[in-house]
Symmetry: C2
Subunit: 198 residues, 2 copies
DNA sequence: TGAGCAGTATGATTTGAATCATACTATCTT
DNA sequence: AAGATAGTATGATTCAAATCATACTGCTCA
């Protein structure tokens, strides 16, 4: 879900450029803005004491992120880091709330987005709880296929690294590599020159 | 978050009694209703092929559940099962949508609820991904404390069984029992006659 | 075109949660 | 009050993912 850039600008939003690797906001800090990605790629991520990352969501252009504080007045639940040079746009929360009040259809779209994100978490959690790497990876890839995210719709090539899959499933990269090889041997997916085709 | 019973009734909602163990709705089935628990207890749960349960949320009186289909037109993401004889109330989706349209403040409250639930999933997922039973259990108990759920606010006694904690963290009940004993030995919590005090 | 680096892949070992089995305790029901 | 059952607890074993180490391949950049 995205809010049309022209609408955001009309309500006072401002662009911001971020460099690859730059932290847009930190988990645990307060927020006063609505964030939307214009171009580039951002990962919405938790980092533990050992520096290990858990990627909650990979944000793509036109998608919003870091919206929790706007609705529950709590700090950020995860950090946002740019995977590549990116452009984001942000709107102050008071303007954002007013925008929703004056545009109920937009509010419904937003509610739909939160629901889709919550459903995704239900899906991933039930798989993680099964302690079955193949199930977790399979479920994640199926989700990407259905939502047309992170997979090339023309050639079905997975656009993510094994490490990113590992970071989204709580598994180790070695486990993801071996599990995907196994899935290839079963015919569940194809691997050519290291590239995965679902 | 709850919608006042009188409002629900005024908009055409109807009560329904469910017996302990009764399945209110099944994962994967379609829905046309908004559900709210009036009395009793319900668990919102995924059940895998081996019959193992993953409890996504324990629903308490005045809380709604099964709301995803209302906003994203997809089937139920988990099943709802009554833990004890309960009373629920439900409103047809079209009336529910109209109720929100005519009451923007209610819609905002609902958005806040979804956000809180999403934040809880972010929290549990990042802990599960760390493969650290003590961290997962500790985080869950802290969450219950903060939200005053499942813990007696007068004596701090945990109202859930070890099995329920296991079902909410993806761990085995033996692991939860041993980990809680370990946490007791560290002074992180107290156990008296099998009862846990946080 | 070649060097360097990111990403993929393989092998060996460790380890802790799962698994299986069984006993004990608290609670409920008659 | 006693029997039955749910829940807690303990002990032993298994095993698959984590961990550690190292090699190979594809891609980027000069």
């Amino acid at each position: 879900m995205q809010i049309n850039i022209d609408i955001l600008l009309a309500w006072g939003a401002a662009y911001k450029k971020v460099a690859a690797g730059e932290i847009i906001f930190h988990e645990g800090t307060e927020s006063s803005f609505y964030y939307q990605l214009v171009s580039g790629k951002v990962r919405w991520v938790n980092i533990n004491d050992q520096g290990k990352e858990f990627i909650q969501t990979i944000i793509e252009p036109e998608e919003c992120f870091g919206e929790f504080p706007l609705f529950d007045d709590e700090p950020f639940a995860a950090s946002a880091i740019a995977d590549e040079d990116s452009v984001i746009i942000r709107l102050h929360r008071s303007s954002f709330h007013q925008l929703l009040r004056e545009n109920p259809e937009l509010h419904f779209e937003f509610t739909r987005l939160l629901t889709q994100r919550l459903r995704f978490k239900f899906l991933i959690l039930k798989e993680l709880a099964n302690h079955n790497p193949e199930g977790s990876i399979s479920t994640l890839l199926n989700y990407f296929k259905q939502t047309q995210k992170n997979i090339c719709t023309k050639c079905n090539r997975l656009k993510l690294t094994r490490q990113q899959i590992a970071d989204m499933t709580g598994l180790r990269v070695e486990t993801v590599i071996r599990t995907m090889k196994f899935m290839q041997s079963k015919g569940d997916l194809q691997i050519t020159k290291g590239k995965v085709y679902c």
